[in-house]
């Protein structure tokens, strides 16, 4: 570091620098979906946690999770994790170069594979839960 030459002053950005610009605000909104990724995972953990504990703990947890406020939360979380999934699959073909036989798969093919995997995983989870006791 050269102590002799002064560096030009750079004003630190305002803490809400991302507000008011569409691209920046969408970027921050996508970052914030990670909160609902964690929250949905914790709700899922809550089901497993109390189910392992026993019927009473599980019933109490289901009672909390079916309150109207919880329904609103689940709806917001659903929108957020779907938004996360859509943007994630859109980015994946650009971030990962999938090669088969040395040739790079087209982004469209990678995207198609991702959507197929998404549909298959969703179907398996839904079937396991919804087929009932």
């Amino acid at each position: 570091m050269n102590a002799g030459t002064p560096r030009p002053y750079r004003r630190p950005p305002h803490f809400a620098w991302w507000w008011g610009h569409r691209a920046y605000t969408l970027f921050v909104a996508r970052e914030l979906t990670s909160i609902f990724v964690a929250a949905t995972a914790l709700v899922l953990l809550g089901f497993a946690w109390t189910a392992v504990q026993g019927p009473d703990a599980y019933a109490a947890y289901v009672a909390v999770m079916t309150r109207p406020a919880a329904a609103v939360f689940h709806a917001v979380a659903l929108v957020a994790v779907v938004y996360h999934a859509l943007t994630w699959w859109t980015l994946a073909p650009r971030a990962a170069a999938v090669r088969v036989d040395g040739r790079r798969l087209s982004p469209r093919a990678v995207l198609g594979g991702a959507y197929a995997a998404w549909a298959a995983a969703s179907a398996v989870v839904a079937w396991l839960v919804l087929r009932g006791p």
Partner: protein
């Protein structure tokens, strides 16, 4: 001659420096978490909403859920999904706080708080689902 301030090689690295030097690991876990979350969290959120709206009948009955979880693979599944989702959150939230809200210079060791919270959640899940 002006003494040049050293970067302090004798001082132990702070949380921010440790997080930076282990960045590839956290980034890999973030990417894995984002993929797993995109694959299965929408259907889980949909099922949670359906339960709250009274749709799936007895699909969420304790007997059914407990029997699903009796299989070790189901418990591994829940642990992996929850663990990777938490690590995904931790990595993104770390940057949202540090860069988005300009808290990088605050006193809070942000990486430690974020990754620590995720690792605590994973530890609790593993203990609950496999050792109790």
């Amino acid at each position: 001659m002006v003494p040049v301030p050293t970067r302090g090689h004798v001082r132990p690295p702070d949380a921010d420096e440790v997080a930076r030097s282990t960045e590839p690991l956290w980034w890999l876990l973030f990417a894995a978490g984002g993929t797993v979350a995109a694959l299965v969290l929408p259907v889980h959120a949909l099922l949670h909403l359906a339960l709250a709206l009274g749709l799936p009948g007895d699909a969420f009955a304790h007997a059914h859920v407990a029997r699903l979880l009796a299989h070790p693979l189901a418990r591994v599944y829940v642990t992996v999904v929850v663990g990777l989702a938490l690590l995904h959150w931790a990595h993104r939230f770390r940057y949202a706080l540090a860069e988005g809200l300009r808290l990088k210079a605050s006193w809070v060791p942000i990486p430690l708080a974020c990754y620590g919270a995720a690792l605590l959640g994973i530890t609790l899940a593993v203990v609950r689902l496999f050792f109790l």
